[in-house]
Amino acid sequence: MTSSLVTKTPVIEIKDLQAKYGNLTILDGISVDIHPGEITVILGGSGCGKTTLLKNMLRLYEPTAGSVKFWGEETLGMSENEFYEVLKKTGMLFQNGALLNSISVYENISIPLEMHTSLSQDVIDRIIRVKLNLVGLGNAIYKLPSELSGGMKKRASLARALALDPEILFCDEPSAGLDPVTSEALDNLILNLKHQLKMTIVIVTHELASIHRIADKIIFLDGGKMLFNGTLDEARGARIPQIDHFFEVGKF
C-alpha cells in the first residue's frame, strides 16, 4: 500500500538472529528477508521454534543476538515508544488466539481502534462488523471469548489483528483446528488481503494444502537453523532430505 511496493526493498530484514529461553538456544544464525506484498510461510516440525521466531522478530522476547530491521530501520535498539510505532503497522494472530477474556469479541476488536485512532463510533462499528464478517464470525460479535470454539477464537483474533489494516500481518497457525472448508475460506481471505490490499503476510502453518494455495516463499526451520529459504518450487528442487520428507509425509 505504501511506497515500499515501488522500491521493492525488503520490509523485514533479519540477520544472524539468535533466540534463547534462559540458557537453552532455540534458534541460531537465522537470516532472512521478507519482501513486500508476499506471503511467506514458516515451516518446521512441532517445537522447532516457529513461534519463537515470530515472537523474537516482534520483540515479545528480546533476541540474544542479531539484527531485525522493519522498513529498513533497526528495531532491536529502539525504545519502547519508537517500537510501538512499528507495532501499530503490524498485526499478529497468536497461536492460541490470545483474546482478552473478560470482554466481548466486539470490544476486543474495538480496543486498538479506540486507542490508536480518533475515528467516530459509527466508523469503528462498521470496521468491527466488516472485519468479523471477513473471518466469517459476523454472528459472534457480542459473544465472550469463553463462548467461542477454538477455531472461532482464532478467527476472532485474526479480525482483531486486522482492525487497523496492518501493513504486515503475522499469523501463527491460523488454520490449525479448522475444518477444510473454513480453512480454505481463510486462505482466500489471506490471498485477498495480499492482492487487494498489498499486505505483507508471514504465516506459520502445517497444512500442505494451504501452503500450496498461498505460499510465495517458504522458510524451513530445523534443529534451530534455517534449512531453506526460497519459493516452493525451489524447495522441491533443492533435494534437502528433511524438506522432501515433510512434503512426502504430508501428502494424502
Binding site: M1, L119, D122, I124, R126, G138, Y142, S146, L197
Partner: protein
C-alpha cells in the same frame, strides 16, 4: 484530502485512511449543518488515491445517511485499486446484529431472585453431595488417590500455622493488655485468666483460625477447582470414570475436618501465652495461678462448643470454596472472580454462623 459539493455531486479527493477520516468527518458534519447535502444524487470517488477500511466505512456512512434522504445514490469513477479495497471492506450489505437488550428494573429483580434461589438450591445440593461422599469416603477410599488426605492436611496446616500463630499471639496480648488495665483498676487482675480463657476458647480461637483458613485455604480450594473446570481437567476426570467430588473435594474435606480443631487448639494456646505475659509482667499474677485459673474456668461444654464450631466452620469453608470453584464461568478471568467470591462469602458465612452459635449456646 477534501470534500466538495457541485451541482448535487459530492466529490471526494485524496487519502481516505484512518488518519484522515476523523478530519473528514468533521468537515462533512459542517457541510451537513449548512444543509447543502440535501439534494446530492451522486458521489464522485475518482479523486481518491488511497483508501483503507476506515475510509470505506466512512463512505458507507455517507452512503447510508444520504441515501435515506435522497433516495437512490450513485457512486462513480473509483480507481481499480481503490474499488478493490471498497469491495473487500464494504459494510453496506452486512447484517446488523442486535446487542442483547438490557433488562428493566422489575425484570432484573425477578431474574435475580430466581438466580439467588437457584444458587441456594445448587449450594445445598453440593453440600449434601460433599457430606455424603465424605461419609462414604471414611469407609472406602475408592476414587481417591493414596495419601491425598495426608498431603492435603500437611499443606493446609503448614499454610495456616505461621499466620495463626502470629495473629493469635498478638490478639491474646492486646486483648489482655486492654482488659488488664481495666481489671487492675478494680483490683481484679487475677480474673484476666478467666476472661481470656473464655474469650479465646468460645469465640476468638475458632473465629480467627477460620478467617485465616478461609483466606488461605478456602481461596486455594476455589481457584484449584475453578482452574480444573476451565481447563477441562474435571471433564477429563469424569472420562476416567472418577467422581470430581470424591477425587478432589473429599480429601480436602477430611483433611480440614481433622486439621481445623488442631489449629484452633494451637491458636488458643498461643493467645494464652500472650495473655500470660501480661498477667505476669503487668498484673503480678504468677504463672501457676494463671494456668490453674484458666483451666478451672473452662467447662467441658465450652471445649465441645469450641471444637464443634471449628469443625462446622471448616465444612462451611470447603463447601463454599467448592461451590464457587464448580460454578466458574468464562475463561481464566472466571477463576479470579470465583476465588474472590469464595473468600468473601466464606468469611461472611463464618461470622454469621458464629453469631448463631453464640445465641444458641450462651
Amino acid at each position: 484530502m477534501s470534500i466538495s459539493i457541485n451541482n448535487n455531486v459530492l466529490t471526494l479527493e485524496g487519502e481516505f485512511t484512518k488518519e484522515s477520516v476523523p478530519a473528514l468527518e468533521a468537515e462533512l458534519s459542517k457541510l451537513n449543518k449548512s444543509a447543502s447535502t440535501a439534494g446530492i444524487s451522486m458521489i464522485d470517488l475518482g479523486g481518491i488515491h488511497r483508501i483503507d477500511s476506515a475510509g470505506v466505512s466512512f463512505l458507507d456512512g455517507i452512503h447510508q445517511r444520504l441515501g435515506e434522504k435522497a433516495g437512490i445514490l450513485l457512486f462513480k469513477g473509483a480507481r481499480a485499486d481503490v474499488q478493490a479495497v471498497i469491495d473487500t471492506f464494504s459494510t453496506i450489505n452486512l447484517p446488523v446484529i442486535e446487542a442483547q437488550r438490557e433488562m428493566g428494573f422489575f425484570e432484573k429483580l425477578g431474574d435475580d431472585t430466581i438466580k439467588a434461589y437457584q444458587a441456594i438450591v445448587e449450594g445445598l445440593t453440593l453440600a449434601s453431595e460433599i457430606m455424603y461422599y465424605s461419609a462414604v469416603g471414611i469407609l472406602s477410599r475408592k476414587g481417591q488417590r493414596k495419601g491425598s488426605t495426608i498431603q492435603q492436611a500437611a499443606l493446609l496446616g503448614s499454610q495456616a500455622l505461621p499466620i495463626v500463630a502470629l495473629l493469635s499471639f498478638i490478639i491474646g496480648f492486646i486483648l489482655s493488655l486492654q482488659s488488664g488495665v481495666q481489671l487492675k483498676n478494680f483490683g481484679a487482675g487475677v480474673f484476666l485468666a478467666d476472661l481470656l480463657a473464655i474469650t479465646m476458647v468460645r469465640e476468638m480461637g475458632p473465629l480467627i483460625t477460620s478467617i485465616i483458613v478461609a483466606g488461605r485455604s478456602g481461596s486455594a480450594i476455589a481457584s484449584e477447582i475453578a482452574t480444573m473446570q476451565v481447563t477441562e481437567e474435571l471433564d477429563a476426570l469424569r472420562m476416567m470414570a472418577l467422581h470430581p467430588i470424591r477425587f478432589v473435594v473429599v480429601p480436602k474435606f477430611h483433611a480440614i475436618t481433622f486439621v481445623m480443631p488442631l489449629l484452633v487448639m494451637f491458636s488458643i494456646l498461643v493467645a494464652e501465652l500472650g495473655g500470660a505475659m501480661i498477667a505476669v509482667l503487668m498484673l503480678d499474677t504468677s504463672v501457676e495461678t494463671f494456668v490453674s485459673r484458666s483451666i478451672e474456668i473452662l467447662s467441658l461444654k465450652d471445649i465441645i462448643i469450641s471444637f464443634g464450631k471449628s469443625i462446622w466452620f471448616a465444612w462451611v469453608i470447603v463447601v463454599i470454596g467448592s461451590y464457587y470453584g464448580f460454578q466458574v464461568k468464562g475463561g481464566a478471568e472466571g477463576v479470579g472472580k470465583a476465588t474472590t467470591a469464595a473468600v468473601v462469602s466464606s468469611i461472611f458465612a463464618v461470622i454469621l454462623f458464629d453469631a448463631v452459635f453464640s445465641l444458641l449456646y450462651l
